[in-house]
Amino acid sequence: MSTILTYIAISDGKIKRSSLEVLSHCKELADKDGHSVEAVIIDKDASSFVDGVKKYGASKIYVVEDPIFKNHMNTPLLKALANVMGATSPSVFAFASTESTKDVLGALAANQQAAVLSDVSSFELTDGGIKAKRPVMAAKILADAEAKGEKILVSVRSGSYDLVENEANSEVVSVDFSLNDGELRTTLKEIISVSGDTIDLNEAASIVAAGRGVKDEEGQKLITELADVLKAGIGASRALTESGMYDPSLQIGQTGKVVSPQLYIAIGISGAIQHVAGMANSKVIVAINKDPDAPIFEIADYGIVGDLYKVLPPFIDELKKIKA
């Protein structure tokens, strides 16, 4: 019997749903083959999240609590992850593929001499390792990948697995942590945060995404209005984050966030492959574009050919009626 460890990411005082998706999947894998599944929480208030993790069936929950984890910094996070790996010797350590994970995964693999597969859309255990599917070539193709070794790290795209509650009587283990000044080396000078009230795109059930067709404040207002009606997160194509109309953290695509909501409404987005790579796994895709030949229509479940400035007002109005 071996151990599958899952990293529980905390962001803005909440457990990232994507890490519970990964935990749900690991629990299923562990039960099937008689392994144990454990979880680790690293945060300034780590122990306050224990109850939220117990629901998903971890037999042990490691808690690393220190004020330094208030904001993401790679040096302390790496040290904490390495400590936990040392204490638990997991055969597989699974992460949700967040920006924070991406920041440390390669370095942790090098530090632990572990085999690593990043950003997979699914994985299974094999004899002596894991096999996984990884979207490659701007997510046009799936690669069948294998990792072998005594320690394996894997990060999983958000939305790849469903949440499955499975309450367990988890043992909670506190792991010591300390870092002296000399070890830190890097200085976090400032955080330019935009999050506030905005909905996390990786967690959103619905996303309204704006592209080049959204030209002005009037267009932005329509986007916001539609998002409000649907309680949706707002995303944008690279063109609009580069122009400064939307914040860079809202960019969806190969370079930005990879999302898979229940409903994705692409507005004035042509559908360049780099954008599609970030949203093609959405359950239902709606596209609104005035160019009938826009590639986005090839992947849209519902395509509306028309000027977004004319289409959105009645669209919003009708949705309001449905919601009422």
């Binding site: 962001s11 904001n71 993401h72 790679n74 920006e99 920041d103 440390v104 995964l105 390669g106 370095a107 693999a109 090098a110 085999a115 690593v116 950003d119 990884r134 979207p135 490659v136 070539m137 046009k140 799936l142 690669a143 069948d144 990948a145 294998e146 072998k148 890097t186 200085t187 976090l188 000078k189 955080i191 330019i192 935009v194 999050s195 996390d200 619905s206 649907l230 984050t241 860079p248 190969q254 370079t255 409903l263 359950k283 239902v284 709606v286 229509f297 090839e298 849209a300 479940d301 519902y302 395509g303 509306i304 050919v305 028309g306 000027d307 009645p314 109005d317 009708e318 949705l319 449905i322």
Partner: protein
């Protein structure tokens, strides 16, 4: 500042590709400089123009990769090192990182810079691995760089905002393509690139063992992504089709 920028020749993801017997078949002529690496080169050049220093590019690859290296030299990099491989190897991120770490081990530099991922595999691991192997402080997913009193100021895109991080040198950084528009080499740059030094380094000269060159991960095959069923396209009076689709999202797709 002395910059080393790690660059990679990759297939153009926009080029047509097909899968035959689980293998990826691509036009061998459609190889390009990884877009994220191009941004790393551009940013190093901008900092050199501002503060002085030197930009050297390093690439691991087959003899053909020299074309990609020339492109970076034509953009303005001062010199290059080409670590030669046959091109038939199946290295993973960790193998590339071990080769790079072995190369950088006894070099002098202020900043090692990389693209944050390569656009064909999107693994995004090598930069962090090299940093850890060399014991360097590092930052990933940079969207802006500044040099200040021998320190590197990195603006990186995090999960919910941008973080300003100060790194002492030597350090490592991985770059997003959101930080700049890489310059297109002009004729003068292209001519000059032909006279710039490109050192060839034999992989065997780096002293790596067979074990260190053996990857722990492998790709066993490729498959088409299950395609989406073509959906319904609505054309006509905006008011009518907009309301019709809104209704269908509720009654048919069940997502409202």
């Amino acid at each position: 500042m002395k910059f080393y920028v790690g660059i990679k020749m990759v297939p153009d993801v926009n080029a047509p590709l097909q899968i035959k017997d689980g293998q990826l078949i691509q036009d061998a002529d459609r190889m390009i400089l990884n877009a994220y690496d191009a941004s790393a080169v551009e940013e190093a050049l901008v900092l050199k123009e501002k503060h002085g220093g030197e930009v050297e590019v390093v690439s691991i690859g087959s003899p053909k990769a020299s074309e990609t290296i020339r492109k970076a030299l034509a953009m303005g990099a001062d010199k290059a090192t080409h670590i030669q491989t046959t091109g038939n190897e199946a290295y993973d991120s960790a193998t590339y990182a071990r080769i790079l770490a072995a190369f950088f081990k006894d070099k002098e530099y202020d900043v090692l810079s990389f693209g944050k991922q390569s656009q064909d595999t999107d693994a995004g691991l090598t930069g962090g691995m090299v940093a850890e192997m060399l014991g360097l402080p590092f930052a990933t997913n940079a969207v802006g760089l500044q040099a200040e009193d021998g320190k590197l100021l990195v603006k990186r895109q995090g999960d919910s905002g941008q973080e300003m991080i100060e790194l002492p040198t030597p350090c490592a950084v991985t770059c997003s393509n959101d930080m700049n528009e890489p310059r297109i080499p002009n004729l003068k740059g292209i001519m000059a690139s032909k006279r710039k030094p490109m050192e060839q380094v034999e992989l065997s000269s780096l002293g790596l063992s067979e074990d260190e060159l053996t990857p722990k991960t492998s790709v066993t095959g490729y498959e088409e992504k299950p395609g989406r069923e073509p959906g319904k396209k609505f054309e006509g009076e905006p008011d009518e089709i907009a309301r019709e689709v809104a209704q269908l999202l509720d009654t048919e797709a069940n997502v409202i």
